[in-house]
Structures are given as C-alpha cells and as structure tokens.
C-alpha cells in the first residue's frame, strides 16, 4: 500500500489533508468528488468527473450515491491535467465551478504536462485570506485501500472516546463503502463520466463469478443431504444401549460428527455477517478440501500394488508377536522380576489369570483372520471422506488390537485400588480410629478385641501382598500409557488438520493487503499555496 505525501512551507495553522487516488493522476481534467471529513480537516477523493457534464445531473447522481452508501459524497474541487501550457481561461472556468458546487474549501489540483510537480491550492470564501494554510497531499492506491480490511480492536464498541480510535479508519471506511461509485466504468453510457480504479472495466474473475452462481444450488443440495443424514443418525435404531456406548467410544464417529457439523456451517444459506464469520467459513472450506484431497491421495497409494493385502498379512503376525511378548513379560513377573521376591501363591494366580486372557485373545484374533483383508479393504474406502477419518480409523484399530492391554490395566488398577483402600481403612483400625462418613472426617473409636484381632491380621496380609500387586499395576499402567501416547499423537495430528486456519495463512502470504496494512513514502511534490 503506497501513500506519498508532500506539503508546502507555511505557517501551519490548520493542516489540510487531501487523499488522492493514484489511478486519477493520469485522468483528464474534471471535478473531484469524494468525502470531506471536517473533524480531521481531510478530503478523501474518490473519483474524477470529466467534462462535459450537466451540474444538475451530477448533483442528482451524488444524492443517489449518498442514499445508497450513507456517505456524504460531494464535489470537493477541480482537477486539471493540461498537456500544454497552463491556460488562463481554463483556470478561470475551474474557479467559476467553485461557485456552482458550493463547497468549503474548494480544492484545486493541477498537473502540467509531463512535469513531476503538481500544484494544489484552496479557495476559502468565508475565512480571512491572510491565514496561510498548509496542505498535505496523500497519494493512495484505491484498489488496495478498498480491499484491505482494517480489523477494529475488540473493545471499541464500549469505548465512548472515539477519538482514540484510528483516524485513518474513516478514510478506509469511505473508500470501502463506496463500492457503488466504482461500479460504473467508462464503457457505460451515463450522465456522468467517472475515472476511478475500475473505470477501465469492472474487475472480476470469471471463475469467481461462475463459482458464485453455482454455489447456490450446490448449497441447497448439501443442506438437503445433510438433513437426511442427521435424521438417519438420530433415529432410535442406533440409540440402543450397547450401540450408543460403542459409538461414544469410537473416535471415528466423533470425527464424522464433527465434520458433518462443519459441512452444515458451510452449506447454510445465510451470508456471513462479519469478517470473522467469513474467515471461519473460508478456513473450514479450505481445511475440508485439503483433507479430502490428502485422503484420496492416501487411498490411491494404498489400493495399488495390493498394499491392503500386505497390510492384512502383516497384521496377524504383529498381533501374535505382541501376545508372545506379553506372555514373556508375565513369565518374567511370575519368576523373580528385577531381583524382587514376590509372594509365590498370589504371583502364580495373577500370572495364570492373565496368561489365560492372552490365550483367549489370540484365539479370537485367529478366528477373525480370514475376514481381516475384506474388512480392511472396505474400511480403507472410507479414507475418501478425508485424511482425518482415516487417521481416526487407524487410532481405533490400534485401540481394538491392544484391547487386552486395556483389560489388564483395568484388572491391575482395580486390584491395586481395592488393596490400597482396604489398607488405609485397616491402618486406621490399627491406630484405633474410624472414618466417620456422616462428618467426613476421622474419629477415634473403641473396637472390640476380636475386631482388632481380625483387623490386624487382615492388615498384615494385605501389607505383605502389596509389592506383588503394586508391581503388576506398575507394569500394566506403563504399557497402557504407551498405547495412550500413540493414540494421543494421532489425535493431535487430526486436531491440527481440523483447526489449522489454512486460508488465513495462504492469504497472509499471497494477498497480505487483505489483512490490513498501510505504508507511506514521501515523493517530490511542489505545492503552491497562497
């Protein structure tokens, strides 16, 4: 965004700022129309109206624009771009125009031939002419100012002191809201001939226009399909207890529900209210697109050279390997792990129980083995719904394959929990205290002799069995932690793809002026005042 400024020497009383668009610097002579912001003493020039024109028609057009855009657009001054020497009659004519379109102050900008120097002056009728005024001419790129969105800070609506807000927002708002002014180009046959950034033909992209036309029926179709899907999902059939529990545990269903929600946001027929909603919709759309593209890529890679078959073939040996490793681990625990001496009887019981479990699990896997390939093939098709869905399915498969580790963890944890609970209660009995449930505190209590005897006995038994249980608990918790970490990483990746605002990032690199920004550069300009 380039603004260039230059000013004249003079006693600065009230600095007058004129914002002039770059596209009008080569326009032919005419009058300037725009908005005069008196609080900041600045004039924002939006376009140049060329000769010949009828003043009445110009005024009508301006009042029409004022009605539509709610911005007080008026005639600000005159612009003369003469190829030859300065014509005296032209300058007189331009001054007379000031009387027709009464505006205080009347700004006159003129450029001579090919010289780099412009001259800018003002005519003040009412104020005393002895005061010299300083004029700053700021040269701005209309297209970029119009497209850049200045994001206001979050708390300006409650702040009554509006002069703390940026004064330049008024300039940006003026240009951004005058879209209707920029709709007429020089090929239109209207009463007024304007020059502005679109005067060579309204800038639009065919693809964007086609997409806009096509998006309406597509949105309607999507909304219809989505409503059908949500009706099916919410039907009673899928809400029976075992099934609903299953759906809540599988992360794939959660991810699919999430994506359905996103699709609903995009396909809603209401236009986005403000900038944040528009950016959100755009981000969701880009994220969905990338997701589906990556998913289809993954699918095309997976389905060639019968990789699915290879995958299914390696799955069973991997499960077998895991089971064998677990069996070795349990044998180690049943012996003397790390030199610790376990309680033989409890050790054997627990070890045999877990070994039997593993045996059951392996038989189950072997039972399923002929169907694995087919299941994988059909499940792989769902990768076309998106890479996130494929990753969720992977995470669910890992969860299912390591289900026995989860079971062991639950048994070990429960046993350990019960033991610790029992120990703490009996420890209190040992010291002659009791837990008062009513008062939620520890009270002293006098026990009978036989209660004390049995309590102490049980306490001793539990205490000496503690290391064995604790070791089993530790080992299985660590295994479960490993599985949870792997699943957590996959879910982190899924969340990243879901929530990364790719549209904003791409916009930042390609069209950063859309995300606001302004810069100035001082140029050579000789301005004559009076």
């Amino acid at each position: 965004l380039w603004w260039s400024g230059g000013a004249e020497a003079g006693i600065a009383a009230m600095v007058l700022k004129v914002f002039f668009p770059t596209c009008c610097s080569s326009a032919e002579s005419g009058i300037l129309i725009g908005r005069w912001i008196s609080e900041q003493s600045s004039a924002v020039v939006l376009a140049v109206v060329h000769f010949p024109f009828i003043p009445v028609q110009v005024k009508q057009y301006l009042s029409h624009v004022q009605q539509v855009t709610k911005i007080k657009v008026s005639v600000l001054g005159s612009w003369s771009n003469s190829k030859r020497e300065k014509e005296e009659s032209l300058s007189k004519f331009l001054e007379d125009l000031g009387t027709i379109f009464a505006h205080e102050p009347w700004i006159q900008i003129s450029k001579e031939g090919d010289s780099k120097f412009w001259s800018c002056s003002t005519l003040q009728k009412e104020s005393n002419s002895s005061k010299e005024e300083e004029i700053i001419l700021v040269y701005y790129d209309q297209r970029k100012v119009m497209l850049s969105q200045l994001h206001p800070p979050a708390n300006t609506s409650t702040d009554p002191k509006a002069d703390d807000a940026s004064k330049l927002t008024a300039v940006f708002d003026t240009v951004a809201n005058s879209k209707i002014l920029f709709m007429t180009d020089k090929y239109d046959d209207g009463p007024v001939k304007l020059t502005h950034w679109q005067s060579d033909g309204v800038e639009a992209s065919i693809i964007v226009e086609l997409l806009k036309q096509a998006s309406v029926p597509v949105c309607l179709l999507l909304t219809f399909l989505l409503s059908l899907t949500s009706v099916v999902c919410k039907s009673r059939m899928l809400k029976f207890w075992p099934l609903s529990f299953l759906w809540s545990k599988l992360s794939t269903c959660e991810q699919l529900g999430h994506r359905l929600q996103h699709l609903q946001i995009i396909s809603s027929s209401k236009k986005a209210q403000n900038q944040t909603q528009l950016m959100r919709k755009a981000n969701i759309f880009v994220s969905l697109l990338i997701d589906v593209a990556l998913g289809i890529l993954l699918m095309s890679w997976l389905y060639r050279k019968s990789r699915i078959g290879h995958l299914a073939d390696t799955l069973i040996p991997v499960a077998d390997h895991i089971a064998k490793e677990l069996q070795d681990l349990l044998q180690w625990l049943m012996g003397a792990p790390a030199g610790l001496k376990m309680n033989r009887a409890l050790d054997q019981v627990l070890g045999r129980f877990f070994l039997y479990h593993i045996h059951l699990w392996i038989s189950y896997i072997h039972l399923m083995s002929p169907f694995i390939e087919m299941i994988l093939w059909y499940v792989g098709l769902s990768a076309c719904l998106g890479l996130t869905v494929a990753l969720c399915i992977l995470s669910d498969i890992i969860a299912l394959l390591t289900f026995h580790i989860y079971c062991f963890y639950v048994y070990g944890a429960r046993l350990y929990c019960l033991k610790v609970y029992g120990l703490s209660s009996l420890w209190r009995l040992f010291r002659g205290k009791k837990w008062n449930v009513l008062r939620q505190r520890v009270d002293s209590c006098s026990y009978d002799l036989d209660q004390l005897f049995i309590g102490t006995l049980l306490f001793t038994i539990l205490l000496f069995l503690l290391p064995t249980t604790a070791l089993y608990y530790l080992v299985f918790t660590l295994l479960r932690l490993l599985v949870v970490v792997v699943q957590g990483l996959i879910h982190l990746l899924v969340d990243l793809i879901d929530s990364l605002p790719l549209y904003s990032i791409i916009l930042r690199f390609c069209r950063s002026y859309r995300l606001a920004g302004k810069s100035f550069s001082a140029a050579q300009a000789e301005i004559q005042g009076f």
Partner: protein, 187 residues
Amino acid sequence: MAENQRTGAPLALRRRHHSASCRELAVRAPRLQLRALSTLTSAVWLAAYGLFVLCENSMVLSAAIFITLIGLIVYLHFVKVDQESLLIIGSLGIQVTSSYASGKESTTFIEMSQVKDVVINEAIHMQKIIYYLCILIRDPQDPQGVSEVVPLFQSSKPRLDCLIEVYKSCQEILQQRETAPQSSEIK
C-alpha cells in the same frame, strides 16, 4: 559520519526536509563486504572438502554448496538490514521502514494521535551505557501513561551524536502539533 554503537562500523545519516511538517531521516548501514563473504564461503567449502576426503562421500560437497546458498539467501532476506528510515508527517503519523539487503521492506506506521513523544532512552547493557531512540505510544485509558515503547534503528544502532540530530528533527515537527489548534478535539 555516524558510527554503530556495537561494532563501530561507519553509518550514513541522510536527512530530507520535504517541508515544514514532513521530514525523512534514513540511516544506512555498510553493505555486505565481498572480502567477508568470500572468506566465509571458502572456509565452509574447505571444511566440506576435508570431510569429503575423510569419508569419500560426494554428497558432502553438494550439501555444502546447498547450505551456503540457502544460508546466504536467508541472511540477505531476513537478517541484513541495509537501511532504516523514519518518515514523520506532522498531523498524519510516523512511519518506520527497514529495508533488507534482498530488497524486502517492512514498514510500521503509527498515527499521530497515538504518539505521545519521541525520546532518547539510556540503557545499561553489560558494562556500558547505550542510547536508543524510541517512540512513546499513548495509553488510551490513562492520558499521562505510556502503553508501549517502540525502539527505532534497532539494527544500525547509531551513536548519540546521530541520535541527537534525529531527535531534534523529530521534536521540531512534534512541537507544531502542540501549537496547532486542536480542532479535532471539538466534537
């Protein structure tokens, strides 16, 4: 004419007086020396050649060339600041521009209503005192307070004599703001 505070390399200060209320001050750092560049490149390539002789893998050589090129591009584009300039337009604002050796320019514009003052601050760094010019940003809640301090000329770090000249130019423009009638306050 001026010198860098940290390295003592010579800097050039250029003042352009566009008008009574518009000044541009630019500090230009010395350009990248061919001597330094060639010594560094030769050192890297000699080291790579030595590695190649040791491990007989030609990938080392291509990797060294690649690294040198990428490193040079990254240095020119992100690190080496050629010129830092300050443009003050009274009643509009202050613009701070840094232009890098690769041509990239990054600008920051601060509106005049947000600028409280431009001052030279002292800071104690290790065993010496350094001076830096900074812009004080007004706090919207507290009229006497300062919400932010924006330091200027961070890469070229000119010495006090240069800073004093810049300070004087800035103050001339800022004084006009005080004497001008505050019609923008009338609502």
